[in-house]
Every structure is written in structure tokens, then in C-alpha cells.
């Protein structure tokens, strides 16, 4: 490989900062990429769960609010990644410290396995319904045997695509994104032509909570989890944006607004059919022919998203361990296959969202507060790449002020809402959990950043001159 090609490869695989002249994405490209990556199993499922507990109008409001507000709160970080052309876990060294950023990477890698599982298992669910439609073997039609087999095979294909790098991903997105849009158009046709607006608005949720307030708070919380979940993926796309405005607007509009179309359609269809599972309502809503076509598209769409997730994980690992080869970096996604062996992880989607919500809301609050109020938008790129962390060394590589704020934010979250038992604390119905966790972590961090014992004496927690 020539020297120039090698540098180009390292730029796009995440290690070197991207210079102004190398940026590829304008606003429209940005929105398309975000939507292409973002609309998959998770958006249909979160919409489906929302439609399971709320009627159409409140469901729509909960989805819009739950996704747009977290993205607005996180968007200042887009400026950091666009301005310096760095990936999330290199940029995070300024607020978390070099070791602290690596810990955040490990947390991301574990959660990313969950997202890969969601995409691949939904693909497995789609495949077993296609097998059933063609009268295939009974074992391959079951959730316990067929779905895991198809999910793991899909994961192997997604891994292979991601291993091909950005060009292979780009080619696959060209198939996956139109597939998603065909699904959405089909659903729109189904809802408005076959059912009519009045029926949609009058439909009642099949598993609402005891009170409307509790249903609304829970639905907002699930969507907030999805909204905050984009935090670790900010850097890898924003570093390629032409301008700070393209990055901020593209991130907000793509993940915070346009993405909601899929979730809202998921909610409306769940209300009409009484199931949150897209692979189920696809057939019920569309009949054998359209339903089968929809399932095939759903397979393609989830395969695309799974590939992007494996690629994201590989890139993030490469930024911390640049000498690892690409194959090894991608292999860190392989444990996801273990989570696909049973439907348990897939069926626990809302619990998973709860964990994502508290982790990403806390880290997001700290990182945004550090950038805006502690560093005051001034970052030293030289120190981000320094062997020992430079001025961002903190205490042995960890910004303890950030981690104390994250832990206290987490304690507040679990006091307000326990996602495992689905138990709501006294404040949950009024303020939910993820959004206040963001603010509590942010305020605490700003206060703790003044304590030298937590941040070190190197001036790590101050802005550069």
C-alpha cells in the first residue's frame, strides 16, 4: 500500500484528525447517512412499544419529544468533533481523561453488542416468518432455534461487509436505505388507505399502564433512551462534516427528527394490529404478498444497520489501539453472537433502553458541561493525542470529577426509575428519569471540576489559553 493510501486509510478508519479539505458530508449527505444508519430494528421497536401503551396523538408526541430533546442537549458535542476532525473516544479524552475515555469505550462496546443483537435478531424473526410462508422445516420457523440461527448467519454476513470498510458500507447503504423507505411508504399506504385516519386516532393501546401519566412517562423514557444512545456515534460521522452547522443540523435533524417517522409508523401500526413486533404486524397488515415483501426489506435494512454497527465498533477500537489490525478490531463485535442464542435480549428491549438512557445521559451531561462551561469550547488537539494525556492527564488518566458525576447521576436514575423491575419512583411520572439525569450529572460535574483532588493539578479541568 502506498504511503498516501495508507494515510487516507488511517484518516477514514478514525485515527488521524480529518482536515478541512478532506471532509465529505454536506447537510443533505449527513441527514441521509444518519437516517440510513438510524432507521432499523430499534426505531420500529421503540415505536411499537410506545403504541402499546399510548393512543396515537400522545404516542406521536412522546416519540418526537423523547428523541429530539436528547439530541438537542447532546448537539454541542457535534461542534467539538466537527471542529477538530476527531473521533468520539479521542475527543472524550478532554473531558474523561485518556484512561477514562478508554473505560467509556469499553462501556460503548458492550452496549453496541446489544444494538447489534437487536438488528440481527429482528432479521432472524423476519427470516423465520419467510420460512413459514414457504412451508419450510418447522425447526427453522421457531423463535428458539430458527431465529437464532438466522440471526447468527446475518451477523456473520454483516461482519464480513463491515470488514470490507467504508466503501463496502457505502454500497450496502445504497440498498439498505431505499429498503427502509419502501417499508415506510408501504406502511403509510396501509395506514391511510386501508384503515383511515379516524380509526387510527380512535385506536386504544392494548397494554396501557394504570394511569395515562405513567404510560406517557414510560414511553418518553424509552424514546429518551434511544435519543441519548447516539452519543458514542457522534464523532465518527461529525468528523467528516463540511462545517459545524452541517454537523449540528444534520445530527439533530437526522437522528432527532426524521428518524421519528419510522417510530411513529411503528406506534400507529402497533395500535391498529395490537403487536409491537414489526415482523408480526408486517404480515398482519400487508397480507401474504406485501407482508412477505416487507419482511425481505426488513431483512436488508437490519443487515445494513448491523454492518454499520460492527464498522462503528471496529473504528472506535482502532482509535484506541491503532496498531491492531482491522480484522482484530472488528472481531471485538463477535461476542454479540452469544446474545443472539436466545430471544431473551431481544425481548428485553425496553430494559436495555433504560440502561442505555442512564449511562448515556450521565456521560452526555458530563461531556457537554465540560465542553461548554469548563473548557469553554477551547480544546488542545495536541494534548488529545499526547502519549500521557498532556494537560488532559487528570489523576492517573481519569477525570474523577466526571466519573463521580456519572455515578451520582446513575444513582439518581435508579432511584427515579428501575428499568429491570419497571418500578417508578415518586418523581418519575412528573420528570421521567433520563433527562433529569443529564442535568444532574452536568451540574454536579461543573461543581466537582473545581476540586483539584478529583481533576489533578495540571489544569486539566480548565480551558486552554
Amino acid at each position: 500500500m502506498s504511503g498516501e493510501r495508507h494515510v487516507e486509510r488511517e484518516v477514514y478508519f478514525g485515527i488521524l484528525p480529518v482536515l478541512r479539505g478532506e471532509r465529505q458530508f454536506g447537510l443533505l449527505d449527513f441527514i441521509l447517512i444518519q437516517v440510513g444508519f438510524g432507521i432499523a430494528a430499534w426505531s420500529f421497536l421503540v415505536g411499537g412499544y410506545t403504541g402499546f401503551v399510548l393512543p396515537a396523538l400522545p404516542a406521536t408526541a412522546a416519540i418526537l419529544f423523547g428523541n429530539a430533546l436528547p439530541l438537542l442537549l447532546l448537539c454541542p458535542l457535534a461542534i467539538l468533533f466537527v471542529r477538530y476532525g476527531v473521533e468520539t473516544f479521542i475527543g472524550a479524552r478532554s473531558s474523561l481523561g485518556p484512561v477514562g475515555s478508554n473505560i467509556f469505550l469499553v462501556i460503548f462496546a458492550v452496549l453496541n453488542l446489544g444494538w447489534i443483537t437487536m438488528a440481527c435478531f429482528m432479521l432472524g424473526e423476519s427470516a423465520i416468518r419467510v420460512v413459514a410462508a414457504f412451508g419450510g422445516p418447522e425447526s427453522l420457523q421457531s423463535r428458539e432455534i430458527g431465529a437464532p440461527i438466522f440471526a447468527i448467519v446475518a451477523f456473520a454476513v454483516a461482519w464480513w461487509i463491515a470488514h470490507g470498510g467504508p466503501l463496502a458500507i457505502k454500497f450496502f447503504i445504497r440498498i439498505g436505505v431505499p429498503a427502509m423507505f419502501l417499508i415506510i411508504c408501504g406502511l403509510i399506504l396501509y395506514i391511510f388507505a386501508a384503515q383511515g385516519m379516524d380509526k387510527v386516532l380512535a385506536a386504544q393501546p392494548s397494554e396501557a399502564y394504570d394511569s395515562m401519566r405513567r404510560s406517557l412517562a414510560s414511553a418518553i423514557e424509552w424514546n429518551v433512551g434511544l435519543g441519548f444512545s447516539w452519543l458514542p456515534y457522534f464523532g465518527q460521522w461529525n468528523r467528516l462534516a463540511h462545517s459545524e452547522k452541517s454537523g449540528v443540523w444534520g445530527t439533530y435533524l437526522g437522528w432527532g427528527v426524521v428518524l421519528n417517522v419510522a417510530a411513529i409508523l411503528g406506534a400507529l401500526t402497533a395500535l391498529l394490529v395490537g403487536s409491537y413486533e414489526p415482523t408480526e404486524w408486517m404480515v398482519q397488515a400487508g397480507g401474504p404478498l406485501f407482508g412477505l415483501f416487507g419482511l425481505v426489506l426488513l431483512i436488508l435494512a437490519n443487515l445494513t444497520s448491523a454492518s454499520v454497527l460492527v464498522y462503528s465498533q471496529g473504528i472506535s477500537i482502532k482509535t484506541v489501539f491503532p496498531r491492531w489490525n482491522w480484522t482484530l478490531a472488528c472481531l471485538t463485535a463477535v461476542p454479540a453472537a452469544l446474545l443472539m442464542l436466545t430471544p431473551a435480549v431481544y425481548d428485553g428491549y425496553v430494559t436495555f433502553l433504560g440502561y442505555v438512557s442512564f449511562i448515556m445521559a450521565s456521560f452526555g451531561g458530563v461531556m457537554v458541561a465540560d465542553l461548554m462551561f469548563v473548557k469553554k469550547w477551547r480544546i488542545s488537539i495536541r494534548d488529545l493525542y499526547d502519549n500521557d494525556g498532556g494537560i488532559y492527564r487528570y489523576v492517573n488518566g481519569i477525570n474523577w470529577a466526571a466519573y463521580v458525576a456519572v455515578v451520582i447521576g446513575g444513582i439518581f436514575y435508579f432511584w427515579t426509575y428501575d428499568p429491570v423491575a419497571d418500578r417508578a419512583g415518586p418523581l418519575f411520572e412528573y420528570i421521567t428519569a433520563g433527562i433529569p439525569t443529564f442535568f444532574i450529572s452536568a451540574v454536579l460535574y461543573v461543581l466537582l471540576a473545581r476540586v483539584p483532588a478529583l481533576t489533578g493539578e495540571s489544569g486539566s479541568a480548565r480551558a486552554v489559553a
Binding site: L16, P17, L19, A68, H242, E244, P322
Partner: protein
């Protein structure tokens, strides 16, 4: 981090850091350009309030 890079990559990294430190950055975002995300979120909050109030 630098120690994990090959000498060729370290040289390239230095070149890039110098370029960024000299101010070769993408176009900055002005405060007034936040109007779009703020306006859309404001409308969504209003929508949620009206829907919740109507239930």
C-alpha cells in the same frame, strides 16, 4: 496515543495537528444558527404539552 503509531503516521499526525493549530478549521457555527434545532424542539415541547393537557 502517539506511541502506538508508526513513525510515518506520527509525522502525518504532527502535520495535521500543526494545520489545525494554525486555524485551518471548518466553517464555525454562529450562535444564531441554533435557531432551527431550538425552534423545532420548542414546537415539539408545545405539542407534548397540549396533548398531555388534553388527556
Amino acid at each position: 496515543m502517539k506511541r502506538h503509531l508508526t513513525p510515518e503516521m506520527q509525522q502525518e499526525l504532527e502535520k495535521r495537528i500543526d494545520s489545525i493549530e494554525k486555524g485551518h478549521l471548518p466553517d464555525p457555527m454562529h450562535v444564531r444558527e441554533w435557531w432551527l434545532p431550538l425552534a423545532i424542539t420548542g414546537l415539539i415541547v408545545l405539542f407534548l404539552y397540549l396533548v398531555a393537557a388534553g388527556q
